[in-house]
Chain length 569, copies 2
């Protein structure tokens, strides 16, 4: 059993649930026609299935390692990376002016899901480059863009993000790396950065580090941070990599998963860098990159859910155990109700996560295509939900995948355990899921709840549309929408922001389930064969929404009623 | 930060919530006085904290491995095991007639929790021996008991359980191992067994395998299975290990966790064995052993929850990040509401799991002490709940522990990831949690729900007792009890057992949450300082019960509405 890219599923959600055809009507994405989409998805599917999926276990078994200061990647990763770059997949989202394909995020998200399902650890390398491409397009000057973007889009060079320092994780403003002007327009960047994914490797000719650091006159906190491009090898004006820059890999982390993706501690010792964007404007530039990276990480979670589901279903269909408890069954453990429950839960959550991620991508695409601020607000609201629910779904589905395998799930050869280990960090990096939830209830509700109410109204419309044909499901979705709408009002009325934060995580999950129920029911209205999954979701998953709302409304007091000593008892 | 055994917590639940003092009033456990309990727990705590906890990471880093057909254990494990054996901890539950300490399960569960929290992989070795001691006490003849039990109780020899074969996992009745009479009262046992924990090692003088196999006249299925004692070295009449038996370790599994615990594929090639219990009575004997093993595995899950919670709390108390969002805080991430939510969730679930496991243990002890069939039924009902909820709690709390650690949670050096990996199998082995749930709704409701209703009535009584002082919490618990009682009636009225099975897992979880809320509220009524945790549990966790009930009542049809092809789309 190997990975099969769910192209039809993607196309169905894009076309029949989310209305992605609207993109091709915009000037910016006029070329993103259904035919183009078909061709892109089919080609990416072949790459994922045939070239990348066979590398996943090798990456796990033979981690990237440090050899005389240079990172050596896992067996086969060099060939895999070359296939990604040669196919043009690194630059899929890049501006065509610098060699990118200029595809909308709705399509790049589908592509990245496939590459992630096939081999998440390797797929992170081009994904990080995509984030850097975007930051350079938006914030770098022409000289930098002309120098770096063609190499990054082609995959000849790769990109990294250098934010975190030991004392500055979620609190980026605490960072201490500094940059001194060299007097020639460049800067000398010094400091130590941790958790640098693909911080070094042997796959490409240069590694381009985007580094957050403070200029001498930079204020404390996030307002005094600037962004620098600090390549491993300093290129000449023609873009030929020249002398090595003053930076090095101190060590690689020994991680629970993603062994194929080297996670470096990077040391910059007066390394030459170029300012990207204005002085002290680093956080704004970084946020451009991070927002889309958050959707990208949500898609990473989704990718592991899809892969774990496929593997578990394949195992259930081949494992014979016990007498068939139902007549006319398959004779395998798929006949058992509890195995069915696990698989239905996995499938429903995966479908929900995909719809949320793709709707987020579509909204951001429409905003970029100049279709109005509402799309921008919609995409901004959906981003933390896509990140947190996508990655939570990855974790939960991978866990159920292990469980479906029984004892074999704990044995590494099976592969189910690798998904479970690999996906776990997606709930942590790029802003922990707790931070996503705080973003949702604070920043993303600063419009007084307008964007949130608009999305809930869409869900309400789906419930109305279903009223005649599926009254029970219509009522179930309506009840969940109402519970969440009431909770939204309660949350908005909280005068103390910490009361919102206290219920942020359950609020986000409740929101995601309501949206998920809405998408699945909409899918069922479009295609009868999808009714069973919608029925399962509405009848057996949406009842969780009132429980989540209770926690979302409860306020902070209960959480602080035990002091540190009492917690330790 | 290292592990601290939660002795006070255990004593509080035993004394003030569960009424374990009743045990010392029975003849059988008259010696289990509070003073004895104090001494036992304090001594076990020292062993766990000082000797075993330091071994846990070594076991993970340096797995047990096969060397010329013999298993070599992780560094330090031999010393750790010797300390366990020398302290008399292997035989804590054993009958004093053969050198055991004869302690009740309420105390042995506390001891095993501590040893498991400290080093789960090593603790499994004596735990398996304890299961074998119990099976021999109940089912072996005097000669076998006299020969094996003293050595097992002293820890000089260790025990294993050999049930599973490649084609016979959850479906034990499909096993193919066979036993031929040798004519001298012994049998020649042949077959291959998999997933044999501590199937071989270098810690003790003999490894005693309890093997399920079929006699020549054994019927197909579980009715034709017999149990055999098949030691690695054949002892002479004086109990001196002699010639090697015809058995071998084929290989060790490469597992996601529990690296310190060797999991063997065992081959028996006409190995000499002694029948334990009557011919074809193997399943009954095995069930004796398995039932208590199920509680033991629930305690394993609990042990990882406790250890993961302690580690996460310690990390939260030292990690400074971001501006304090609350006045008068600790200046650490403990000040953040979402971190608080995670820690409160971890603490509440761990307390619930401990109370459920200990109440199960107490019930089984009271039954053994001849206090009546009601106790037996109560313990039998609580067993699958203790196993599944204890291990689910272990998995969930360990996952939250990783999340509290942020990026550090994914780095192996931290130790949070090890709990997450180690604990995962506890939800699978000794009957998957899905099988536990099926046991609960089928076999354990065969009394028409009498035992279940009695437990729910206890929870209702707690709600009533709280009505005056804590009306909101009383109402919250009452509502959950009512929802579950109604669901119990619905489940009992289902004519098709597969409809019960379809909702078994959510029913079990709902039952566990109701019991957990009941214990926590009872604890709060006994000690004011415990009110905040009870408030959190009732207000923010029990609202999940109606959602679980909805799934428990939904029946099987929704789960089978997609056929195998549709599931694969």
């Amino acid at each position: 059993m190997s990975y099969r890219a769910p192209i039809r599923e993607m196309r169905f959600y894009l076309d029949s649930v989310l209305g992605a055809h609207r993109l091709a009507r915009t000037d910016r994405y006029a070329e993103a026609t259904p035919d183009t989409a078909d061709a892109v998805l089919a080609e990416a599917a072949r790459l994922a299935e045939d070239v990348l999926a066979p590398l996943n276990r090798a990456g796990d078994l033979h981690p990237a390692h440090l050899e005389n200061g240079v990172v050596r990647t896992s067996p086969g990763f060099a060939d895999g990376y070359r296939a990604i770059a040669d196919g043009g997949w690194v630059g899929i989202a890049g501006d065509p002016r610098w060699g990118g394909m200029g595809l909308p995020m709705t399509l790049t998200s589908c592509v990245n899901e496939m590459l992630g399902s096939a081999c998440l650890s390797l797929s992170l390398c081009p994904l990080l480059t995509q984030g850097q491409i975007e930051a350079l397009e938006h914030h770098a000057d022409d000289a930098l863009r002309d120098l770096f973007l063609p190499k990054l889009n082609s995959g000849e060079w790769t990109g990294t993000m250098n934010l975190t320092e030991p004392q500055a994780g979620s609190d980026v403003g605490a960072l201490r790396s500094r940059a001194e002007p060299n007097g020639d327009g460049t800067y000398a960047v010094s400091g130590q950065k941790i958790y640098i994914s693909w911080g070094d490797h042997d796959l490409a000719g240069n590694v381009c580090h985007m580094v957050l650091a403070r200029l001498p006159d930079g204020a404390p906190g996030t307002r005094g941070i600037s962004l620098f491009m600090v390549p491993k090898y300093l290129p000449d004006d023609a873009g030929r990599p020249g002398p090595a820059n003053a930076l090095s890999v101190v060590s690689l982390e020994h991680k629970m998963g993603l062994h194929g993706s080297p996670t470096a501690v990077m040391q910059f010792d007066g390394a030459t860098g170029w300012l990207v964007g204005p002085p002290h404007g680093g956080m704004a530039a970084m946020f451009t990159m991070m927002n889309n990276a958050r959707l990208g990480v949500g898609v990473e979670g989704l990718s592991q859910a899809e892969a774990a589901y496929q593997k578990a279903l394949a195992y259930a269909l081949e494992r014979r155990q016990g007498r068939p408890p139902v007549a006319g069954g398959t004779g395998t453990i798929l006949d058992h109700a509890d195995v069915r429950r696990m698989l239905m839960t996995m499938k429903a959550q995966t479908a929900m996560a995909r719809a949320i991620c793709l709707d987020c991508a579509l909204s951001l695409d429409m905003a970029r295509a100049g279709q109005g601020d509402d799309w921008q607000a919609r995409g901004a609201l959906l981003t933390p939900i896509a990140k947190a629910f996508g990655t939570d779904t990855g974790c939960r589905v991978a866990e159920l995948g292990v469980q479906v395998h029984g004892g074999m799930g704990f044995i590494e050869e099976t592969g189910a355990a690798q998904f479970y280990r690999d996906v776990r960090v997606t709930a942590i990096y790029e802003g922990t899921n707790g931070i996503q939830a705080m973003d949702l209830v604070a920043r993303k509700l600063m419009d007084g709840g307008t964007a949130a109410r608009a999305l809930l109204a869409e869900a309400g419309t789906t419930a109305e549309r279903a009223a005649a044909a599926q009254p029970e499901l219509s009522a179930g979705l309506s009840a969940a929408v109402d519970a969440l709408s009431d909770t939204l009002d309660t949350v908005l009325a909280m005068p103390d922001l910490n009361d919102r934060f206290a219920g942020a995580a359950p609020f986000l999950r409740g929101f995601a389930l309501v949206l998920g129920g809405h998408y699945l029911l909409k899918a069922a209205l479009a295609e009868d064969a999808r009714l069973p999954l919608a029925r399962f979701a509405v009848r057996q998953m949406l009842p969780e929404v009132p429980a989540l709302c209770a926690a979302a409304r409860a306020g902070a007091a209960d959480l602080y009623a035990l002091d540190a000593d009492a917690l330790a008892v």
